[in-house]
Symmetry: C2
Subunit: 353 residues, 2 copies
């Protein structure tokens, strides 16, 4: 068979890529040699390299990585499952995970659970069926995590992000939600506030419940009694809070400050305050774009999703590289960013009433 024959063969199968066999035929060498050239092995003669490269160029050959992986066993791919890739927090996490994946010349499979345990399960098992080398996952509340054990046993490395595992023995990197909330609320207390409202997500969410705990920690430390009337948990983060805030404002002993448990809620609180034409001191959990554009700027307890992704990938790759030390959970510190809204003193708020 000569070169022309090989070329014809590839052309005969439209929409079908040239294979190493095709390249070998066109170059007049064996497939082993083609493989060596493609993988840059040194033990190939100059002429063979030239012939093979010419054939590759001519046929538009591109190695089929799927076939390669079937043979070698490693897929050079990582699966990432978060709540929602469009959420600012997770999209930043996504990006930083991507950077680490890129550094290892792998690819990243991504999916959003949409807080649905069943959807999460389906996506994770799909990733496992694709034999990803490792998994970075934020598991939604309410699901069973037991099904992951089989995958773990089968040798799929995984690291949990944003939420700790409940029963599994896996690495995790989470944010110090409780400590961060405590710091934020203590900051408000430092400005004289004693009636501090707390708006959060559904308390069955891990992060929300931790932040509420931190809120209570700060009150307790300051000797301020906890008043359930001042706590409101939205069913969804999109829900406006002007109604519950109005109720608190109309009470005998209204709040002079509010702690918002997440960035969406911070925005809802700002809108609600606007509606009620009132101003209160505000500290929000999680930073957001424009937090410094509204007046006053919003003081926040900031998380660092990029660091979370970077650290999670570091842990994951260590496992992939053979580390078998006991699993650990890394708790990332938060950072208080002072912008004005959290430094409105109790006296100033009362004077404006």
């Amino acid at each position: 068979m000569d070169a022309g024959d090989g070329l014809r063969m590839a052309a005969e199968r439209p929409n079908s890529r040239a294979t190493m066999k095709d390249v070998a035929r066109v170059a007049g060498v064996g497939v082993g040699t083609v493989s060596r050239v493609v993988n840059g092995k040194s033990n190939v003669s100059e002429e063979s390299v030239a012939a093979v490269n010419a054939a590759i160029e001519r046929l538009g050959f591109r190695r089929n990585d799927g076939a390669r992986m079937l043979r070698t066993g490693a897929t050079a791919s990582i699966g990432l499952l978060v709540e929602d890739v469009a959420d600012p927090f997770f999209s930043l996490l996504n990006r930083s995970v991507e950077e680490e994946v890129l550094r290892r010349d792998s690819v990243l499979l991504t999916a959003s659970s949409d807080k649905d345990p069943e959807r999460a399960r389906k996506m994770i098992l799909t990733f496992c069926a694709r034999r990803v080398d490792g998994l970075v996952i934020t598991l939604p509340e309410g699901g069973d995590e037991e099904y992951l054990r089989a995958e773990l046993d089968a040798g799929t490395s995984m690291v949990f992000v944003d939420r700790p595992p409940r029963v599994l023995d896996v690495d995790a990197v989470i944010v110090d939600n409780r400590g961060g909330a405590r710091t934020g609320v203590a900051h408000l207390i430092g400005y004289g506030h004693r009636r501090i409202a707390c708006f959060t997500d559904r308390p069955d969410l891990y992060t929300a419940s931790e932040r509420i705990s931190g809120y209570r920690d700060a009150l307790e430390e300051a000797g301020i009694p906890f008043d359930p009337e001042l706590v409101y948990s939205s069913a969804t983060t999109r829900e406006p809070v002007d109604e519950p805030l109005g109720r608190m404002l109309a009470s005998d002993d209204p709040p002079t400050a509010v702690f918002a448990g997440n960035n969406r809620t911070s925005i809802n609180v700002i809108s609600a305050l606007r509606i009620h034409k009132t101003s209160l001191a505000i500290v929000g959990f999680d930073d957001f774009e424009l937090a410094d554009v509204v007046v006053p700027g919003i003081t926040v307890v900031a998380q660092d999703p990029k660091a979370m992704g970077r650290i999670a990938m570091g842990m994951l790759y260590k496992r992939l590289d053979g580390n078998v030390s006991p699993s650990q959970t890394i708790r990332l510190p938060t950072r208080l960013i002072v912008r004005g809204s959290g430094e409105l003193s109790r006296d100033a708020v009362l004077a404006a009433r």
Copy 2:
């Protein structure tokens, strides 16, 4: 060989998944039968199904989709390349593409070009090597798109998003940047403004240049002369604009309104106005969270990234399903969202000076 033997075999290879061969051995059937059961074919006896399922359960078997795809040819995967998965626009696009991919039981590979043509090229070729069924791409400016032709010829379907192809004959879905900008600027003109500043991205970016054209279109229609002194293009979207805005404000004939060419720039303009303690009418291109929380709310020309993703995937899957009609470019309309900042009349602005 009996069942026990098969189990031992799988156990003998730790970190290595059980294969259909293992399952077949344990279940005491042939691999063909296992394959039929796994794929839910009907022509299998009750007993075989039960035996196979028991073995699958026992071994923790999960089909290797990589091997399956090598055999069947379809990878059930889509590659998405955008500028930055953490950008609000692209993260929304990402999410809507994901939804469509999920509906087809495929997986999504994602990557960010970071506006680097070389990185884009690398990622795209990686996706092609993985034999993705289709590609959704936002190609960065300044790169050659010629290398995609080989992939196109090899049968990889692709659709461009947010930017049209320059030389390739491929489907695309883009936003009516020019028309949207024209509408936004005409809106300002309708409120009496004749001196309208224009702040944008680097004009060598497709979207920025289109929006500047739309800005000029609107001026021309109203018979307002174009004044280059009123146009400022930032080198980066993070660059503050208080300096150039200050220059315009200090001129003989200062602007009474500004058109901001993208959401980050809108924010920069708001900050700059704050610094100069001035208020001008503002219309921004692209909506953003909190646009309705600042006072006044920011009137914007909104895009619909979710629709873009949905439509792009619709086009892509039509191609994958065999559609060979001529390639087309769909131009998505924009929507003007009125919130207050764009309805500040020229008279009101001048009166406040």
